[in-house]
Symmetry: C2
DNA sequence: ATGAAAGCGCTAACAG
DNA sequence: CTGTTAGCGCTTTCAT
């Protein structure tokens, strides 16, 4: 019922190989032949069967993307960007969710049945750590995202967390703020986003001769909006003066702004607020949120391109680490100096 | 290098057909044979090649999901739910984004190349309308979501917009509010979420003898957070008294709460706020948002199950319309009576 | 209950 | 520049 290469070849009066050559833009085809074939293709409404193509070629043109949960805004937007980048390369994306707080599930995504139907995987874990590095030694192209594991056996695309957090903090300092609270800190954690962003914060303070004050640090393991509010409220309750807040992500910042407002503090007059992630929604909050775009779109594009290279060329090059450039999006919650 | 059915058959000393029978849980296999084969499978670490399976069987066990944009919270959470439901059925999901405000792109997703590699499509358009109903007459299993097109040629799974909006409004009325503003209205629109939810709102007023007051209606085409704030600010600026707000979705409600707060109005003491969508984030706002869960998870599960039926059984039954039950999630922004 | 053989639609070698 | 052939790994008749 649906046309095949064979049908086209018959109608065009050529061999099936010639049709294949036309379809795949093989250069050495006589123009007249090409036209003839293209007419037959149009007449029959032929489109290649991707399954047959995959079986024969060993490639599916489908990639996997594994993220914790699409209900987390950052991962939703990252996924949106990966899908857009993949589509631009003619790839389809099968999205998988590993859940939050489930290390075993993250590890299992590396070897589940879907790996046999994708050419490669872009993987953003939130629970695995350096001790799991061996699990990344899989037999297919894998691009790692995030800041849980460095120096693994695979390509790694991520953001400049320390530098970006330092720049964000210095942005606040340069706009005249000296007492900068933090919201969302993971105490005693040494790997992951929180630890790296805290390091950038401390570097900025040190470089500008501002003492680090533990009373300004609001902890929170989870990074929902309510956590931002509570973490901020904690700092406020301590009664220490502060004139700015660095929220370790935008969702926390939304909550922190709510808590500040509740406490009668004006943004940015009394307290400037800086977020991190560059979420779309950050431009629509009131006041709009000054935040760090860590280069999400670049990360998505680069992850897709890196994966494509590994799929196309053979997968024997040494692993690479690619770091996105960041941008501070200057908005109302923290005006520039 | 990677084991095939053939390898397993050789090792187990049976034919390839028998191995296939074991792998596919075909019932009539002698227990001793089954054991032998299973051992061989384990020894070789055999897993079926999904591409070959698809080529032969004509099914891929992959479904498509087309939504406007994952950066819109409702669609991110819907996608999360669809992926979870599909996984529970052993299906993979290829996610596609049609963008916002691009009717042609929505139409094109129905016929693009990906349709040849999926068993069916779950499709949630935002721009297509009743005039596009013929485009839905595709040759593969298609499940329509949303409220742009009714009475089309395909299965349709959606929410009870009118009833849910009416119940939400009556919830406010029963808690003692009589001057209920609306945020996010699409003026003069007759199809789509806004029109249906407005209808529910008007029905609730009428049923309770409350006159409809146009001065309470805040219009907004887009439904970002800032729109909710502006739409709310419009109503406030008119100087008409009101004691509740029905935001036509949760994102608008977040913005509306911000505008209320800015105007010095307390939630819920001065003004109760009701949202719509049941977003995860609605439980983390401050105050937490009372909202209508329109049955998002049920919609996702039902869409997947409906699609599976169409794929499994032949696709000749008349189209069905399936409507989710809704729930009002009682939180701080609008306490119950 | 199991085996033999055909072939899904395509691409890759190799001829010519 | 184009045709022939083989076969990717599996499921599906059809036999037995």
């Amino acid at each position: 019922m649906v046309a095949t290469l064979h049908d086209v070849a018959l109608l065009a009066g050529v061999s099936i190989k010639t049709v294949s050559n036309v379809v795949n833009d093989y250069p050495h085809v006589r123009p007249s032949t090409r036209t003839k074939v293209e007419q037959a293709i149009a007449e029959l409404g032929y489109t290649p069967n991707p399954t047959a193509r995959s079986l024969r070629s060993g490639r599916t043109n489908v990639i996997g993307l594994a993220v914790p949960d699409l209900a987390l805004a950052y991962f939703a937007e990252l996924t949106a960007a990966v899908i857009a980048a993949a589509e631009a390369s003619g790839l389809s994306v099968v999205v998988e969710q590993t859940g939050t707080g489930d290390r075993a599930r993250e590890i299992s995504v590396l070897t589940n049945a879907r790996r046999k139907m994708t050419d490669g995987l872009i993987f953003s874990p939130l629970e695995m750590g350096p001790e799991d590095v061996d699990h990344l030694d899989v037999g297919y192209p894998l691009v790692l995202l995030g800041e849980r594991i460095f120096d693994g056996p695979t390509d790694h695309v991520t953001m400049r967390n320390v530098e970006a957090a330092r720049a964000a903090t210095e942005y606040l300092i340069h706009s005249g703020r000296t007492r900068i609270a933090v919201v969302g800190a993971h105490e005693d954690e040494v790997i992951g986003s929180s630890a790296l962003r805290m390091q950038g914060y401390r570097e900025a303070l040190a470089a500008n001769g501002i003492p680090f004050d533990p009373a300004l640090i609001g902890p929170s393991i989870e990074w929902h909006r309510a956590n931002g509010a509570h973490s901020m409220a904690d700092v406020i309750a301590r009664g220490v003066p502060f004139d700015a807040v660095f929220a370790l992500n935008d969702t926390l910042a939304f909550g922190a702004m709510r808590a500040l407002q509740e406490a009668g503090l004006r943004i940015p007059d009394d307290v400037a607020v800086m977020g991190f992630d560059g979420l779309d929604e950050a431009q629509y909050s009131i006041p709009s949120l000054t935040t760090v775009d860590p280069g999400r779109d670049w990360i998505a594009r680069t992850a897709v391109d890196t994966l494509r290279e590994r799929v196309r060329i053979d997968n024997t090059q040494p692993p690479t680490l690619k770091l996105a450039e960041f941008t501070i999006l200057e908005r109302e919650s923290a005006p520039p100096a």
